[in-house]
């Protein structure tokens, strides 16, 4: 699947959880979900559920720990879609 398409879709998924809309305008792959985008850590659980539903994949607890940035999350999604 096209990486650009997944980035766009992931941004759509995380947007509701980002408290300040300006942060979404300046989003890029290097941004950390919690530290840069100020997403409440409890909502990482919700983002993972939304991602699982969107791509019909399963993200286990170890994988969640490796989804710190937007880029890492996209890589994780691509890896799980392939497998």
């Amino acid at each position: 699947m096209d990486k650009k398409k997944i980035i766009k879709e992931l941004i759509e998924i995380i947007t509701p959880y980002v408290p300040e809309k300006e942060l979404i305008d300046n989003i890029d792959e290097s941004k950390e979900l919690i530290n840069d985008l100020h997403i409440n850590s409890a909502h990482i659980v919700d983002i993972v559920l939304d991602v699982e539903e969107k791509y019909d994949i399963m993200i286990d607890d170890d994988a969640i720990g490796k989804m710190n940035t937007v880029g890492e999350s996209v890589s994780m999604i691509m890896e799980k879609i392939k497998s």
Binding site: P16, Y17, A42, H43, V45, D46, L49
Partner: protein, 425 residues
């Protein structure tokens, strides 16, 4: 130190006959019922198949809530409490600071069995199907008894006492009384007080099993709730939320707030589940004592009272309640105040009843009317010697109301009574 004066500066409400203060005010004046047939009660074969559920549009939610909460929160008690609370805060003209904490303001948002809302069934199902990992982060805050208050404060950022009381059907009026006491004693300047209730068969099924719900009006829902009437058949369950901003008179004056009414005082007690009181029935001596103590602490004489907003659920206990009011006030029938309850229109909102009804009380003081007590064509025969027919209005009376007394009684033999007065500056 003498207690400080406390006034009401904001109102918010979500009720089955009106969402928002303006709609609720109109519905009260028009005697509009919010009671409808409820399909989930029919499907579950409850004896009572009617209830009052507020109709909240997505647009209405979007005016108060951020998109995330609009899309994620499903628990109706949490939604109702959020909408009523935020409307009251805005009504009072109070600011919301994104960064700073307001340490002079707090929240008391009571609830009954918040986690028994209809939507909780989906969570239970998920767990039973081995899918607990799919519950999401909202499950706990959406089902804890303090959930509505917690979500409310995620938006308001208040740093004083934040509490969710739970005292059955007296929860709502007790929440407001607790807020009053906290301000009167100098511990806070402003308290956002209220209570909330969800809906559906997981709450109402238990009341149905107790045989306390109305089972004779499934084909005529708006006729089911008949407080004080000669056909007291059981209460009609409903959901919703009410909220009031209480504020020290100093604070209200300092910021030039629009003062809606003065909170004069109140009293809570329990009948101890003795002398006729039990888990589900009141000890009448305690009710009378609660009313008398309310008058004493509020420094009000019975003759000053223009209106009683009763608990009056449309069960046979209405007869005993009216007898308690008559004995407590000691007034002859001609001098007895008017008496009504919004329950005739919206049913019994259980934990939310007291706060929704207090919003109705403030509206009647502020806008000079006494709303009708619908579905009471004939007063109960045991009360016909105690109450003059005109004291239980069937149509809205447009006249000044200066002093009003309000009570709620709850399972566990709990009583709460408060006095409000018109604000004349």
């Amino acid at each position: 130190m003498a207690d400080r004066r406390v006034v009401i500066t904001g109102l918010g409400v979500v009720a089955s006959n009106g969402v928002g203060v303006k709609a609720f005010d109109e519905a009260l004046k028009n005697g509009t019922s919010g009671i409808k047939k409820q399909q989930d009660m029919v499907d579950a074969q409850l004896r009572c198949q009617i209830g009052g559920i507020p109709e909240i549009s997505d647009e209405y939610k979007q005016t108060y809530l951020p998109d995330l909460l609009v899309s994620k929160i499903k628990n109706h008690a949490v939604i109702n409490g959020l909408l009523a609370g935020l409307e009251a805060w805005k009504y009072a003209g109070l600011p919301v600071d994104k960064d700073e904490v307001d340490n002079e303001s707090g929240i008391i948002m009571g609830s009954g069995a918040l986690g028994l809302d209809y939507t909780t069934s989906q969570k239970v199902q998920a767990v039973e199907n081995g899918l607990s990992r799919k519950l999401g982060s909202f499950t706990i805050p959406e089902s804890m008894s303090s959930g509505a208050g917690a979500f409310l404060n995620s938006l308001l950022g208040l740093g004083n006492r934040v509490l969710s009381n739970s005292s059955a059907c007296s929860t709502g009026s007790e929440a407001v009384l607790l807020g009053y006491e906290h301000i009167a004693s100098g511990k806070a300047e402003r308290m956002l007080c209220g209570s909330t209730e969800g809906d559906g068969i997981y709450i109402w099924g238990g009341f149905d099993a107790l045989r306390v719900l109305c089972a004779d009006s499934n084909d005529e829902p708006t006729k089911g709730s008949r407080p004080i009437s000669n056909s007291l058949g059981g209460f009609v369950p409903s959901s919703g939320a009410g909220a009031l901003v209480l504020e020290s008179l100093e604070s209200a004056k300092k910021r030039g707030a629009n003062i809606l009414a003065e909170f004069k005082g109140g009293y809570v007690n329990s009948g101890g589940q003795r002398n006729g009181g039990s888990l589900t029935a009141p000890n009448f001596k305690a009710i009378i004592s609660c009313i008398k103590n309310t008058l004493a602490t509020s420094k009000i004489e019975p003759g000053q009272i223009d209106l009683i907003s009763g608990h009056l659920t449309s069960t046979p206990n209405d007869v005993n309640e009216v007898k308690c009011w008559v004995e407590s006030l000691g007034l002859e029938a001609a001098k007895f105040p008017f008496i009504n309850t919004p329950k005739s229109m919206i049913g019994h909102s259980i934990a939310a009843a007291g706060s929704i009804e207090l919003v109705a009380c403030v509206l009647q003081l502020q806008n000079n009317y006494i709303h009708p007590n619908i579905n009471c064509d004939t007063i109960h025969p045991e009360l016909s010697d105690l109450l003059i027919r005109e004291k239980v209005p069937s149509k809205t009376l447009y006249q000044e109301v200066n002093t009003l007394i309000k009570a709620n009684f709850g399972f566990g033999d709990l009583n709460c009574c408060v006095v409000l007065q018109k604000w004349k500056g």
